[in-house]
């Protein structure tokens, strides 16, 4: 018994797919192929001369110990962003799901940060934590904790993780809330009648039923941490102090847009692309097995 719907015509499915294919082609495959092309070229800033250099851009990258080091920084950053982003928003979604009065207000407020541009998020958090003038930094100093992310690498990392997570929570929250609301109330009520407390109900019913959502968000958040966070780093720490917050995508941005080295920058985005593809494959092969649809 085949469950799938079959189209009788051959061109109709393609026609229906066309708009989506056009969008993906224009906004993903075309730029991605450009990146691959540029990564084997060396161009001057204005694009007046182009030279084929083969894999020289890649060789130069991996010969640089600082570039290799930034893999560790990136792994730490991405893990922190994905784990913190997912768990905090799951917690918030769980609360928002239970709220009866003023639920819309909470939900709206939680969704707001998503409308903030990453660079603005970075600036916002930098202002709050700015040593000397920032509200939070001032409060921390009153409490006897000297905050100075300009000189403390861990604090700098904490700052960009906070900004990145804050920015992404809304997105995660929306999906979790939708996921929670689609779980049949009867299941939870039945468990409650059987005497399961909220904690137990969460771990044995809601969390397993949310696993497709959680898995989807894991993939999305890792991609987000790898690709979309350069503006936050640029606004908050510029990779400093030293190289302590110089994640891979920030160097892509820096080399491409500040140092005007399109070849080197393209080579790095190809490396990033490979990493994220590999990570996604791993996630689909190993993590997805534990997901119940």
């Amino acid at each position: 018994m085949e469950k799938r719907v079959r189209f009788r015509s051959t061109w109709l499915p393609w026609l229906l797919l066309a708009p989506q294919l056009a969008v993906i082609g224009t906004f993903f495959f075309w730029p991605a192929s450009q990146a691959v092309l540029q990564s084997v070229q060396q161009q001057d800033a204005f694009g007046l001369s182009t030279e084929w250099v083969g894999l020289a851009n890649f060789q130069r990258l991996f010969a640089d110990p600082l570039y290799v080091e930034s893999f560790t920084t990136t792994a730490l950053f991405s893990a922190l962003v994905a784990v913190a982003g997912i768990s905090i928003s799951l917690l918030l979604a769980q609360f928002a799901d239970r709220v009866v009065r003023g639920a819309m207000v909470y939900k709206t407020l939680l969704i707001w940060p998503y409308a903030v541009a990453p660079a603005v998020a970075g600036v916002l958090w930098t202002f709050m934590f700015s040593p000397g003038v920032g509200v939070v930094a001032w409060g921390l100093r009153e409490l006897g904790w000297d905050w100075n992310h300009l000189l403390n690498g861990r604090q700098a990392m904490a700052l960009i993780v906070m900004a990145a997570v804050w920015k992404q929570i809304s997105y995660n929250f929306l999906f979790f809330l939708a996921g929670l609301q689609s779980i049949p109330k009867s299941l939870i009520e039945a468990a409650a009648i059987d005497g399961a407390g909220p904690w137990r109900r969460f771990w044995t019913i809601q969390f397993p039923l949310l696993s497709p959502t959680t898995f989807f968000l894991l993939v999305i958040n890792v991609v987000y941490a790898f690709f979309d966070t350069f503006a936050i780093v640029d606004a908050a720490t510029q990779g400093g102090p030293g190289k302590d917050t110089a994640i891979l995508v920030y160097k892509v941005y820096y080399d491409g847009f500040k140092a005007l080295d399109s070849g080197g920058s393209a080579a790095q985005s190809v490396v990033l692309m490979v990493i994220v593809i590999a990570l996604t494959v791993v996630q689909f092969r190993y993590v997805e097995r534990r997901v119940n649809y």
Partner: protein, 435 residues
């Protein structure tokens, strides 16, 4: 009802037909924000009001590197602006991009404008002149590094508010007194590489890079790990440890902390003057950059920063005529002098300097002549300026490495040595790419 309608139409028609001949628009992309952005807009307004043939349209395109990136993207797409403001570290990149730019000397010559390169202050114009003597870009907002201090804070700390510390040992002493009086940030600096290495080197008549700081060719290599540089950074490291020097971040991030009163002493751009004059709610003083008195030849002169105006290639002849006319306007001694007084940027022509001096401005506002007198001196081969490829990256490398001195991860020697070594890799690449 009908009458009003007809009248409105008539006015509209009149308004539309008013410009008897079409004005040629000159696009000017710049990176000046705040009071400096107002200054740029006023310059364009003043020029547009002075004649009817051309209309200069200034557009703010973000920070220096953002506006440069924007112009490069626009150039690749075939709609670059006519005039682009480029900061001094982008100079080598622009010079190397021969097909993208049109030398100012050529623009002036072809349009028949009166143009005498000798009218420009040598220390400023020399920076933007090709080895063959052609001026490539027009010096626009040239600044140099100077020393600002808070006179009120000096008074409170028991220091003489009318005597700025002239040497680095005096800066350290003053900082200690300021700290003892309860000041949280006695000394800070913006632009670490520019103030503490580039200007510092020229000020002490020492090379920042070999081959006369890159003026002698692309084979130049960094040389800022000499005992003198080391000694200075060890001093700064000690000051940082004792809370006398407070690091405020890269680039000009520290700028805000002087006019706000947070930091009592600061080395920064002379272009910060307009902001200090506008925002500081305390008595402030401006002085020459501190130096080490036992170094022979110090103080020499400081190097310029700021930006110049580049003319992009591939435009029509009448448009270049407009650019030339606008540049002639900008070089006018009165316009120059007014800009200099307003912003603290250096006058780019000797005539403008003399005019400002005659007007009694330097006497009325003591300290405003510091930047000029630091610059208008006979320069040496070691102090003329710095022209290095991949300079943007080199400055970032200096930021990254010196930050590790303040965090205590590296000694001054380790940091400067690594910075030289990493910076040299950039210079080698530039040399290989621009044979």
């Amino acid at each position: 009802m009908n009458k009003t309608c007809a009248f409105a139409l008539a006015t509209l028609a009149a308004a539309l037909s008013l410009p008897a001949h079409a004005q040629t628009e000159i696009q000017w992309w710049h990176a000046m924000s705040g009071p400096l952005g107002e200054w740029v807009n006023d310059l364009a307004k003043q020029y547009n009001a002075s004649q009817t043939d051309y209309k200069v349209v200034p557009t703010y395109k973000g920070t220096y590197d953002e506006s440069m990136t924007a112009a490069i993207a626009a150039f690749r797409a075939g709609n670059a602006p006519h005039i682009l403001q480029v900061f001094e570290v982008g100079t080598a990149t622009m010079m190397a991009s021969k097909g993208a730019i049109k030398p100012v000397a050529d623009v002036m010559k072809e349009s028949g404008a009166k143009f005498d390169p000798k009218a420009y202050v040598p220390a400023v114009a020399g920076y933007y002149t090709a080895p063959d003597g052609r001026m490539l870009s027009l010096p626009f907002n040239s600044s140099t590094t100077i020393f600002y201090y808070n006179k009120d804070a000096f008074k409170a700390a028991g220091l003489d508010p009318n005597k700025a510390p002239a040497t680095w040992p005096e800066v350290a002493l003053a900082a200690a007194k300021l700290k003892a009086s309860g000041h949280r940030c006695p000394f800070t600096t913006s632009w670490i590489s520019w103030t503490q290495l580039e200007s510092f080197s020229a000020w002490h008549n020492t090379l920042f890079a070999t081959l006369n700081n890159g003026f002698g060719g692309t084979g130049a290599r960094l040389a800022f790990n000499t005992p003198l540089h080391l000694r200075h950074f060890e001093n700064l490291a000690n000051m940082s440890k004792q809370g006398l020097f407070i690091y405020k971040g890269r680039g000009n991030a520290a700028d805000v902390s002087f006019p706000s009163g947070e930091c009592a002493m600061m080395t920064g751009s002379s272009g910060l003057y307009s902001r200090v004059a506008k925002e500081a709610k305390f008595a402030y003083g401006i002085a020459a950059l501190p130096y080490y008195p036992d170094v022979p030849g110090a103080p020499q002169n400081t190097v310029i920063g700021g930006a110049s105006l580049w003319v992009m290639a591939g435009k029509k002849a009448p448009e270049y005529k407009g650019v030339a006319s606008f540049f002639t306007f900008l070089s006018n001694a009165e316009v120059q002098s007014a800009s200099h007084k307003r912003t603290g940027y250096l006058p780019i022509t000797t005539a403008a300097y003399e005019l400002t001096e005659k007007s009694g401005f330097y006497k009325d506002k003591p300290g405003t002549d510091v930047a000029v007198t630091q610059m208008i001196r006979k320069t040496t081969d070691k102090s003329r300026g710095i022209r290095l490829g991949n300079f943007v990256q080199i400055r970032t490398i200096v930021d990254e490495e010196t930050e590790q001195i303040w965090t205590g991860k590296k000694t001054a020697k380790e940091a400067l040595d690594t910075a030289v070594q990493r910076g040299n890799e950039q210079l080698e690449r530039f040399q290989a790419a621009n044979k």
